[in-house]
C-alpha cells in the first residue's frame, strides 16, 4: 500500500457517507424545515397521487410493449425489441411493483 493512503472497507465507506449525509441533513435551516412541513401538509399527498397515476400508465405501457415477458404477446416482437432499450431502465421497478402484494389499504394511504 502506498504511504499516505488509508484503506477502508465498503462498510466503513457506507458508514462515512451516511454520517456525512446525516450531518448535512441536520444543517437544514428553520425556514427550510417550515417550508418542507407546509409542503408535507398541503402538497405531498397530491404529488404522491400524481406519481401513482403516472406509474399506472407506465405499467400499462410496459405491459403492452413488453407483454411477451409475461407470456402476453400483444405487440409483435419486432416492435418490442425496437422499444426494449427505452424500457430497460424501468423493468426492475416494474417487476417489483407488479409482484408486490397489494390490498385495499394501499389505496388508503
Amino acid at each position: 500500500m502506498k504511504p499516505g493512503l488509508i484503506r477502508i472497507t465498503p462498510r466503513q465507506c457506507h458508514q462515512y457517507v451516511t454520517e456525512l449525509v446525516m450531518s448535512e441533513k441536520d444543517k437544514v435551516g428553520f425556514f427550510q424545515s417550515v417550508k418542507e412541513f407546509v409542503y408535507g401538509v398541503a402538497a405531498h399527498d397530491s404529488a404522491r397521487f400524481a406519481l401513482k397515476t403516472r406509474a399506472s400508465m407506465e405499467h400499462l405501457f410496459i405491459l403492452i410493449t413488453m407483454g411477451d415477458m409475461l407470456g402476453v404477446p400483444i405487440l409483435p416482437p419486432y416492435y418490442s425489441l425496437r422499444l426494449l432499450p427505452y424500457v430497460v431502465p424501468q423493468i426492475s421497478t416494474w417487476k417489483r411493483r407488479m409482484m408486490r402484494e397489494k390490498d385495499l389499504t394501499d389505496a388508503l394511504a
Binding site: 457506507h14 458508514q15 451516511t18 446525516m22 441533513k25 437544514v28 427550510q32 424545515s33 418542507e36 412541513f37 407546509v38 409542503y39 408535507g40 401538509v41 398541503a42 402538497a43 405531498h44 399527498d45 397530491s46 404522491r48 397521487f49 400524481a50 406519481l51 401513482k52 397515476t53 403516472r54 406509474a55 421497478t93 417489483r96 411493483r97 402484494e101 397489494k102 390490498d103 385495499l104 389499504t105 394501499d106 389505496a107 388508503l108 394511504a109
Partner: protein
C-alpha cells in the same frame, strides 16, 4: 381550571412521553438502527417507496391523521365532564396512542414495507386478512355516515357555511386546472384560490343560505345530505387531480391558518373551564367506560393512523431513526389538537345548558362558536370568525368523506366484482356507497353513529396492536408495552360495541320505541355493530392461536440448559 394549565400539562406529557418513554422503546427494545436500509431505500420505485425528508413526513403524517376526529370526539365527550376527557386524552396518548402509530410504522418497515393485509396474513392467519379487509369496508361506511352527519348538521346550523363550501369547491377545481392544465406557478395558484375560498367565507356571512334559498330549503337536512353526496360523487368518479386533491390542497391552508390563529387566541384569552369537571357516570349515549373511550378516538388512539403509518409513512422513511419523531411525535401533536378542541367546548359556554343547546345543533356549531371566539382575540370580527369555524368543520369532514367514498368505490369493485361485473363500474360503486352512507346520515342518531365510528376505529387500533405484539413475540422482543394496551383496547371496544348494539337493537328496535326512518337507521347501525363484534372476536381467537404458535416455535428453538 385554566386552559393554559391544560396546554402546559399537555406539553409536559408530550415531552416526557416522547423524550423518555418513546426513546427508551426505540433504542432499547426496537433498537432502531440508522445504518439499516429502510424499505424506502431498498425498494425505491420513485412512487410509493421513496426516501423522503423527515420534515415533509411530519406534514404528511399530521395532515393524514388529523381530520375532524380529534376535534369532534372531545366536543361530544365533555358531556361526561372535562376531567375524564383530559385524563383519557393524556394517558391514552402516553401509553397507547404513540405506541400504536410508531409500532405500525416500525413493524411495516421491518417487514419490507408490507401493508396491514399482508402483515395479518404473515403474522396471524389468512383468515385474519380476509376479515380485516371486509371489516375495513364497514369502517369506511361508518366514517362516511359520521362525517356526513357533521357536514349536514353544520350546513343546517350555520347559514354562512354552504356559500363558503361552494366557493371552496370552485377554488379547488380552479386550482386543479391552474396547476395541471395551465401549468401556472404554484404560489400564484395558492394565492388566487385561497383568496377565492376566503371570499366565500365573507360572502357566506353577508348573504346566508336562508336569505337565498329560503328557510325551508336552508334548514332541510335532505338538501345538504344530497349536496354532500353529489360532492362525493364527483370526487369519486372524476380524476383525482381534477377534484379531490386540489380541493384538499386549498382546504389545508384554511384549516392550518384557523388552527394556528385559534391557538394564539387561546393563549391571549386563556379562559377558565366553565363546564363541570365531572358530570355523571352515565349519559344518554352510555357510561363513561367504555363509551367515552371510543367517543374520543383520534386524539388518544385511532386505528386510522395504523393504515397511514404502515402503507404510507413506513415506505417513505429514509432512516429508522425518523420513525420516532414522525410516528410518535406527530401523535403527541394530535393530542394537543384534541386538547384544543376540549378547551373550546369546555370554556366558551357559561353553563352546561348552553353547551347542550349548542351540541343539539351538532358538534360543528360548538366548534364554530369556539373558533369564532378565539379568532376574535386576534382581531377577526366574531361573526366572521364563527363562519370561519363552520367552514373549517365542513372542510375537515368533507375532505375525508370524499376520499372515503372514493375508496369505498374501489372496495366495492374488489369485493363484489366476482358477484357481478356491473360493480366494476365506478358510477355503480359510488352510488352503492352513497346510498348506504345517505341511509346512515338521514336515519341514524348522530351520537350513536359517532360512537360506532369510534368503535370501528378503536377495533382497527386493537388489531394493529395485536399485529405489533405478535411481531414483537415472534422476534423475541419484550411485548408488554404493546400487549397490555391491546388487551385494554380489545375489551373496551367490544364492550362499547355490545352496549351500543344492545341499545340500538333491543332497547330501540325490538321494543318498538322507534318507527319509520329511525327504525331503518337503528337496525342498520345495530347490525353493523354486531358484525364488528363478531369480526373482533374471531380476530382475537386467531391472534391467540398465533401467540401460542410463536411461543411454541421459540420454546423449540431455545437451547437446552442441561
Amino acid at each position: 381550571m385554566n386552559s393554559i394549565f391544560v396546554l402546559i400539562l399537555g406539553f409536559v406529557v408530550a415531552f416526557i412521553g416522547y423524550r423518555f418513554y418513546a426513546k427508551y422503546i426505540d433504542s432499547k427494545i426496537i433498537q432502531a438502527d440508522p445504518k439499516r436500509a429502510t424499505p424506502a431505500k431498498m425498494y425505491m420505485d420513485g412512487v410509493e417507496f421513496m426516501p423522503t425528508s423527515r420534515n415533509i413526513l411530519y406534514g404528511y403524517q399530521f395532515k393524514s391523521i388529523a381530520g375532524a376526529g380529534p376535534i369532534i370526539g372531545p366536543i361530544i365527550a365533555i358531556q361526561w365532564g372535562w376531567l375524564p376527557a383530559i385524563l383519557w386524552i393524556l394517558l391514552g396518548t402516553f401509553f397507547i396512542g404513540w405506541v400504536h402509530d410508531y409500532g405500525s410504522a416500525m413493524i411495516s418497515m421491518r417487514n419490507e414495507g408490507a401493508s396491514f393485509g399482508g402483515l395479518s396474513h404473515r403474522l396471524i392467519s389468512p383468515r385474519a386478512r380476509v376479515l380485516l379487509l371486509s371489516f375495513i369496508y364497514f369502517y369506511l361506511l361508518l366514517i362516511v355516515g359520521a362525517f356526513g352527519n357533521v357536514v349536514v348538521s353544520t350546513a343546517v346550523a350555520l347559514k354562512a357555511a354552504p356559500m363558503a363550501w361552494l366557493f371552496l369547491t370552485i377554488a379547488g377545481v380552479l386550482a386543479g386546472q391552474m396547476i395541471y392544465r395551465w401549468k401556472k406557478d404554484i404560489i400564484l395558484t395558492t394565492v388566487v384560490t385561497v383568496g377565492i375560498a376566503m371570499l366565500g367565507i365573507v360572502l357566506g356571512t353577508q348573504v346566508p343560505s336562508d336569505s337565498i334559498l329560503g328557510a325551508s330549503v336552508a334548514n332541510s337536512r335532505w338538501v345538504w345530505a344530497i349536496a354532500a353526496f353529489v360532492f362525493c360523487y364527483f370526487a369519486s368518479v372524476l380524476p383525482i387531480w381534477r377534484f379531490s386533491l386540489p380541493i384538499n390542497y386549498v382546504a389545508s391552508y384554511i384549516v392550518f391558518l384557523g388552527l394556528f390563529f385559534g391557538i394564539i387566541g387561546i393563549f391571549i384569552l386563556h379562559p377558565d373551564f366553565t363546564l363541570p369537571a365531572v358530570t355523571q357516570f352515565s349519559i344518554p349515549i352510555g357510561p363513561v367506560w367504555p363509551i367515552m373511550f371510543v367517543t374520543i378516538a383520534c386524539g388518544a388512539i385511532s386505528g386510522w393512523h395504523s393504515i397511514v403509518s404502515s402503507s404510507g409513512t413506513a415506505r417513505q422513511l429514509e432512516s429508522e431513526m425518523d420513525a420516532r419523531p414522525v410516528g410518535a411525535g406527530i401523535m403527541f401533536l394530535e393530542m394537543m389538537l384534541a386538547l384544543f378542541a376540549l378547551i373550546i367546548a369546555g370554556t366558551i359556554f357559561s353553563s352546561a345548558g348552553e353547551y347542550s343547546a349548542a351540541l343539539a345543533k351538532g358538534p360543528g356549531a360548538v366548534f364554530a362558536a369556539g373558533v369564532g371566539k378565539f379568532l376574535s382575540a386576534v382581531g377577526m370580527p366574531l361573526e366572521y370568525g364563527r363562519a370561519y369555524g363552520s367552514v373549517m368543520m365542513i372542510i375537515l369532514a368533507v375532505t375525508i368523506m370524499q376520499l372515503v367514498v372514493r375508496f369505498m368505490r374501489v372496495a366495492t369493485a374488489e369485493l363484489l366484482s366476482d358477484v357481478s361485473p356491473v360493480f366494476k363500474n365506478p358510477h355503480i360503486g359510488t352510488i352503492v356507497a352513497s346510498i348506504l352512507g345517505l341511509i346512515l346520515v338521514m336515519t341514524g342518531w348522530w351520537q350513536y353513529l359517532w360512537v360506532l365510528f369510534g368503535g370501528a376505529n378503536q377495533l382497527m387500533a386493537s388489531l394493529a396492536l395485536l399485529l405489533i405484539s405478535a411481531w414483537l413475540v415472534s422476534d423475541g422482543r419484550s411485548a408488554a408495552w404493546a400487549f397490555y394496551p391491546m388487551i385494554f383496547m380489545f375489551v373496551t371496544t367490544i364492550a362499547a360495541l355490545l352496549y351500543t348494539s344492545y341499545n340500538l337493537l333491543v332497547v330501540k328496535v325490538l321494543s318498538g320505541a322507534v318507527k319509520g326512518e329511525a327504525l331503518i337507521g337503528n337496525t342498520l347501525m345495530g347490525l353493523v355493530a354486531l358484525f364488528l363484534v363478531v369480526a373482533a372476536l374471531i380476530l382475537a381467537w386467531e391472534g391467540y392461536k398465533a401467540f401460542r404458535r410463536f411461543r411454541a416455535i421459540r420454546a423449540q428453538a431455545a437451547p437446552s440448559k442441561a
